[in-house]
Point group: C2
Chain length 203, copies 2
DNA sequence: AATGAGGGATGACAAATGTCATGCGGCGCT
DNA sequence: AGCGCCGCATGACATTTGTCATCCCTCATT
């Protein structure tokens, strides 16, 4: 009996190409393709899928949240995350959300089908380089509010803009930003944003 | 006789998947897959390819430069650019570099093979939405130095950092940044960076 | 020869940013 | 009850930015 697979990726070209690639495998059957995370759990249930392959970066519901939704709706369905960026924080969060595997998009195409088979068998699939990074990088040092403020700062607005969007006093915003800079080791606000993004501490 | 195709994309998974997708077409033959832009022109010549499908964002030689190299080395080979980001500036620069087509990665997978066939026939393939944006957005207003300084600023360093990396006086750096902010309409340095990136004025 | 644009620089000034101390109330832990 | 962390806020302060005027030099255009 073949593995029933659901694929979610926001880039239609990539989504279709992955479906084509995996559809070539005799033991894999692609039963649904989605462009965002919102309908994934429902699709998994509807098609009684065995494995869901999810991109982390998606509009609407992000991959991590979608993974959690899938686990809740269909505990027997394994989740394999596929992402462009090997952010350590993504890996950790994906695992906490119940994912069984995590591969980055520059792993060889040959290994993808194998990864699908492994997670289907209940094994865990994790890029070893990433796993190591994830251990050394540690969890996010930012508090919820700090992350929120930093995220609001990530599009380059002024303190006044951020204060307005977060309903905070300007002084408070500066305090939070100062804290994020101290915790990330960044010397400027922009640097703190970059570091936090690279580690997957925002989202 | 089938269309001989060279594919270059830095994400191995995507590259392999695209190859699989297009390999299914009876009239297309994937003769080479590359992970960066440096070897593309040579590969095109070696395999006497008809069409080269290039990603814009690649390590080493970027897709635009690779496109130019292909046109120089094998004028008979058409170039189809494929990119994640529909930056207006990318489209313009790609066309100037001699590309025949430009598609973004969220176009439906079905249309990709058709795009390859069209450029092979000497037709131009351009996402109409993008083409319109490209016209309204206009060319980059930034001078070479301004773009260089703004790029140096894009990782969040201080003025002193930028000055050092560009071998300029700090005052001059501030003047250039001020100019970029005026030209992009950004109210802060970070905003100017974002706007310039979104328009494809950096790179 | 004159004009203008771009690269490079200085100095001065106003505004924004980053830092720090300090305060308060709430929540969880021991 | 006390301690510490977090959320939120103020106020003061030193830096860093962003803005502007002004200067020099070069090169291409007129």
């Amino acid at each position: 009996m073949s593995i029933r697979l659901v694929i979610a990726d926001d880039q239609a070209l990539v989504r279709g190409a992955l479906a084509a690639l995996l559809g070539l495998e005799p033991d894999i059957e692609v039963v649904a393709e989605l462009g965002d995370g919102t309908g994934v759990a429902a699709a998994v249930v509807e098609h009684s899928a065995d494995v869901a392959m999810l991109d982390v970066e998606m509009p609407g519901l992000d991959g991590i949240s979608a993974a959690a939704a899938v686990r809740r709706a269909a505990p027997s369905c394994r989740v394999l995350m596929v992402t462009t960026f090997g952010r350590p924080g993504y890996l950790r969060r994906a695992m906490l959300a119940g994912a069984s595997g995590f591969v980055v998009k520059d792993t060889p195409a040959r290994q993808l089908a194998e990864a699908v088979r492994r997670v289907h068998q209940g094994l865990r699939v994790v890029d070893p380089v990433l796993a190591a990074e994830s251990l050394t990088a540690g969890d996010s040092p930012l508090t919820e509010r700090e992350a929120e403020v930093l995220k609001a700062a990530s599009d380059g607005g002024t303190v006044a803009d951020i204060a307005k969007s977060a309903m905070l006093s300007e002084g408070t915003v500066r305090n939070y930003l100062s804290a994020t800079m101290a915790k990330t080791g960044g010397r400027t606000r922009a640097e703190a944003v970059r570091i936090a993004e690279d580690n997957g501490w925002l989202l």
